[in-house]
């Protein structure tokens, strides 16, 4: 345990060196910039994202409104920043929840096997049949549309993916002799899962989760786009695209293009991060590219 503490001690210099060695410098900078924009941006650009000002409606980008204004005269930059924060929080939280739950379920069915594996496995296959969008529409009807329904939809539909990855990892791990050695020492199943299996599968899950954030952001935006996601006036990228959609053809591009660019940026960053992490954890896979 002491060893663990020593390793995780906060040492930014050492961490940066490790990131550099892993070849993840660029993508880490991009993530830091994005997080800074999402959380510090609203403090710097203090315009309200929800303040209606009909006199200023549909204004092109200017010094007062760098990204222009929307049909109600709300500042698009302020709404963009609000949307960034929301996408990041809902996307990351729902993926984290899915990954954690999936990991636990996957470890258990991988280790226990047999009947339990069969029953839970089929249930997971059932969930797998629902795209996040359909699940989100169902949940929006059941508990009312909003960030919670969107996040839940992403989390629930994500669980089987993580559970399946972890299950197959555990199936190969449990044949390893060190697990037998633990059993011979008298370790309980819980001990084996928590101390040995979960740490061993975390790397693979982290890769999948960072790729999963991209899909989560897309799904949340898609729900917003069809009006079943986060409800107005809360700023949300998908909903912003819908609102600006009708003006696209008449030349007022900024209302839709700006949030679209935000989605593109966040999705790209999470995919790049996931791939960099995979290449770092699985350097042999790299040789095949």
């Amino acid at each position: 345990m002491t060893d663990h503490r020593e390793r995780s001690r906060w040492n930014p210099k050492e961490m940066w060196r490790a990131i550099d060695r892993a070849g993840m410098k660029g993508v880490t900078i991009a993530i830091i910039i994005f997080i800074a924009v999402a959380f510090l941006g609203p403090l710097v650009w203090t315009d309200s994202p929800t303040q209606v000002n009909l006199e200023d409606a549909v204004k092109a980008p200017s010094l007062a409104h760098p990204f222009g204004t929307d049909e109600y005269g709300r500042d698009v930059l302020a709404r963009f920043l609000g949307g960034a924060k929301l996408s990041l929080i809902v996307g990351v939280c729902s993926v984290l929840a899915a990954a954690l739950i999936g990991m636990v379920i996957g470890s258990i069915i991988g280790l226990v096997g047999g009947f339990t594996d069969g029953v839970i496995g089929r249930m997971l296959d059932g969930i797998l049949a629902f795209p996040a969008l359909i699940m989100g529409m169902a949940l929006a009807l059941a508990i009312g549309p909003g960030a919670l329904a969107a996040g839940l939809a992403v989390a629930i539909t994500g669980i089987p993916w993580y559970a399946r990855v972890v299950r197959s990892e555990v199936l190969s791990l449990r044949e390893r002799e060190f697990i037998d050695a633990e059993r011979a020492l008298g370790a309980s199943r819980r001990h084996i899962i928590i101390r040995h299996l979960i740490p061993a599968v975390t790397g693979g899950v982290a890769v999948q989760a960072s790729l999963g954030v991209a899909y989560a952001v897309l799904a949340i935006a898609a729900l917003g786009f069809i009006g079943l996601g986060v409800q107005p006036p809360t700023p949300e990228w998908g909903a912003m695209i819908t609102e600006g959609r009708t003006y696209l053809t008449s030349g007022q591009w900024w209302m839709s293009i700006i949030p679209g660019f935000g989605i593109l940026a966040l999705v790209t960053i999470s995919i790049l991060f996931g791939e960099a992490l995979r290449d770092h954890l699985d350097p042999h896979g790299k040789l095949h590219f």
């Binding site: 002491t2 050695a181 020492l185």
Partner: protein, 646 residues
């Protein structure tokens, strides 16, 4: 056994090469250097190595892991990964200059003039293609024959390498072949282009002793018939002894010593060669194990233990796949004694070991450890009892969690059973104590398994088992993955620990010489049953089961002086799912043949019964009394037959 005679030149007789016309040189390398990119610059794997092979001779390159023997051979064929840097002053292989050869030329040489056999035939064969087709395809590529001709040639090759019923076996898939048969198929494939040089990289390492003897015989026979040169790469000096004409001993990328096989084995000049020879456990020398009288009391008692895998389908019996891995075993082991459990792969010895410590639950039968019956106990009820019995596995790499430090690995058992009262300081003190017990120290606390050598890892495995102060440790092939010199050290450590701590060992191994060195008693297992038990010296001197005798006979001996007639068993053990009625050993039994195939062997299953003259020994053979008398002279390499007094 003309092959043996020719291949083991007596030190006094003139070498074969002088009588024959000047043999063609097939391979000459001088100043071979290979390096790989490492964390800090290039790492030299091979540092200036010379060797040569002439037609009609077998040259062995011997060394422990990391000696560069395999890298040297692969570099000659251009089979190393791209990052490797290969340089040589001179290199001629089958008349081609390697220093000038390009990749395409190397490929041509590889296919046409040099045959290669690797250690693991399973990974070298395409699993989804019929064996015969793979060979026929190679024939088509090499010789440009038409399909039907290629097929005939492939069948011919299969026959040449001793695969029975080659017409039918042509259509089999690799997984339908046993390990020995696969290696034969690989050899057939290597012979497709009638190469003048055969490079065999650890060709028998993955095989059982009785099968190893068959394959070595085959390589020798083919080498004679086709007048090939063979470069044999191996870590096993026993394999060298009966096979090679000349030996090159390598260590850390350099040649330590070279010479004729007889010189190297009997008159080694270099200290390293001497150490290597001394480390090899031998059958033909007295064991150093002191015979201790049992202080009464048994630690382990196994009665009628069975472990079945698969299931019986009552309504569709043809779909039943029940296999009895352990089929009614009785064993007893006294406190602080060692029982060696020997057998070939698939005989059920590992399953028996796992069933004893309840890692695999037995189907039937009783296991008592320290007087407590383990049968029918739940996992939870077993947990506190597990401090009495532990296991050490074969592969120290796989048996330690790669993410844990040594300290954490050893803390696990202590935490699990609350063995150390007090705080972290006391716990650490106990861990250091355990490390010192197995010959390691405080400096290893923070290391992870990949930062340790194989021997050190196995010491950690032993320390972990000792942490709970068990009375019995199952050592499942615990030294067979280690280099000979490391193996010798770990065996000494085990003996010392037994003397200091009074722990009993169930020592599971396929290597008879190692078992002899460490065991008080031995049990020989065949197809899930014990076929012979008894005190180790008596069993090895005068086996009373034909299978034991054959096993002993198949063990290669480290000397070229004594040529012995071997009992080479035919074929492979039958599958445990398909045991013939009567004696399970009948179809491979040499004794049965010698006695004129008595009917009782095929009708009545022999039970393990004590010998009339010695109650300590038992054998499951109808003719156990006839075994020793029927042995070909000198076929079993014991201290007795070598003339040493006991």
């Amino acid at each position: 056994m003309t092959a043996t005679t020719l291949m083991n030149p007596e030190p006094s007789s003139a070498p074969q090469a002088l009588e024959a016309p000047e043999p063609a040189n097939l391979l000459t390398v001088e100043g071979l250097r290979v390096s790989f990119p490492g964390e800090e610059g290039m790492v030299d794997a091979v540092r200036g190595v010379d060797f040569s092979v002439d037609a009609g001779e077998i040259v062995a390159v011997v060394g422990e892991s990391g000696s560069g023997k395999t890298v040297s051979a692969l570099s000659l064929l251009g089979l190393l990964p791209k990052q490797a840097k290969v340089e040589m002053d001179r290199g001629i292989i089958a008349g081609e200059d390697l220093t000038k050869a390009r990749e395409s030329a190397l490929r041509a040489i590889r296919g046409r003039k040099v045959g290669v056999i690797f250690q693991d035939p399973l990974s070298s064969l395409n699993p989804v293609q019929r064996v015969g087709h793979q060979i026929a395809e190679a024939v088509t590529v090499q010789n440009g024959l038409r399909r039907s001709q290629a097929r005939d040639r492939a069948v011919e090759l299969l026959e040449q390498v001793g695969i029975p019923d080659p017409e039918r076996r042509y259509r089999a898939y690799p997984h339908e072949f046993s390990g020995g048969m696969r290696q034969r198929a690989m050899i057939a494939m290597a012979l497709v282009s009638e190469p003048s040089l055969l490079i065999a990289d650890e060709p028998t390492t993955a095989l059982d002793v009785t099968v190893q003897a068959q394959i070595l015989d085959l390589i020798r026979r083919l080498q004679q018939e086709l007048n090939m040169g063979v470069l044999l790469i191996t870590h096993d000096l026993g394999v060298v002894a009966g096979t090679a004409d000349r030996v090159v001993v390598m260590r850390r990328g350099e040649v330590v010593e070279r010479g004729s096989t007889a010189d190297i084995l009997e008159r080694p000049r270099e200290q390293y060669t001497k150490d290597l020879l001394a480390a090899v456990p031998r059958l033909d020398e007295e064991s150093h194990q002191t015979i201790r009288e049992s202080d009464g009391g048994e630690i382990l008692k196994v009665s009628d233990l069975r472990v079945d895998f698969g299931k019986v389908r009552r309504f569709r019996p043809e779909k039943s796949n029940l296999i009895s891995a352990v089929n009614g075993v009785d064993l007893e082991l006294g406190k602080s004694r060692t029982l060696g459990l020997v057998g070939e792969s698939g005989c059920g010895k590992t399953t028996l070991g796992r069933a004893i410590i309840q890692l695999t639950r037995p189907t039937d039968g009783q296991v008592e450890i320290g007087g407590a019956s383990l049968s029918g106990l739940s996992d939870k009820a077993l947990r506190p009892l597990r401090t009495e019995f532990q296991i050490v596995f074969q592969d120290p790499q796989a048996s330690l969690n790669p993410r844990f430090t040594v300290e954490r690995i050893l803390a696990e058992p202590l935490d699990m059973h609350d063995l150390v009262p007090g705080g972290p300081a006391e716990k650490r003190a106990r861990i250091v104590e355990l490390l010192e017990l197995v010959g390691l120290g405080r400096e290893h606390l923070k290391r992870r398994p990949h930062e340790l050598s194989g021997g050190q890892r196995q010491r950690i495995g032993i320390a972990r088992a000792l942490a709970v102060e068990p009375e019995l440790i199952v050592l499942d092939e615990a030294v067979s993955a280690l280099d000979v010199s490391v193996q010798a050290e770990v065996l000494l450590l085990l003996q010392r620990l037994q003397e200091e701590l009074g722990v009993a060992y169930l020592f599971i191994a396929h290597d008879l010489a190692v078992v002899r060195q460490i065991s008080d008693e031995v049990a020989v297992m065949y197809l899930g049953r014990i076929v012979e038990t008894g005190p180790v010296d008596k069993v090895y001197r005068a086996p009373s089961h034909p299978y034991t005798a054959a096993l002993l006979s198949a063990v290669p001996v480290l000397s070229t002086e004594r040529r012995r007639e071997r009992i080479v068993l035919k074929g492979d053990p039958p599958s445990p799912g398909n045991i013939p009625p009567g004696c399970p050993f009948q179809n491979r039994c040499w004794l049965r043949e010698k006695l004129g195939n008595p009917e009782i062997c095929t009708t009545t299953r022999p039970d393990l019964t004590p010998a009339i003259d010695d109650m300590a020994r038992s054998s499951a053979c109808h003719f156990s009394g006839d075994v020793t008398a029927s042995l070909p002279p000198e076929s079993v390499p014991t201290a007795d037959s070598s003339g040493a007094t006991s």
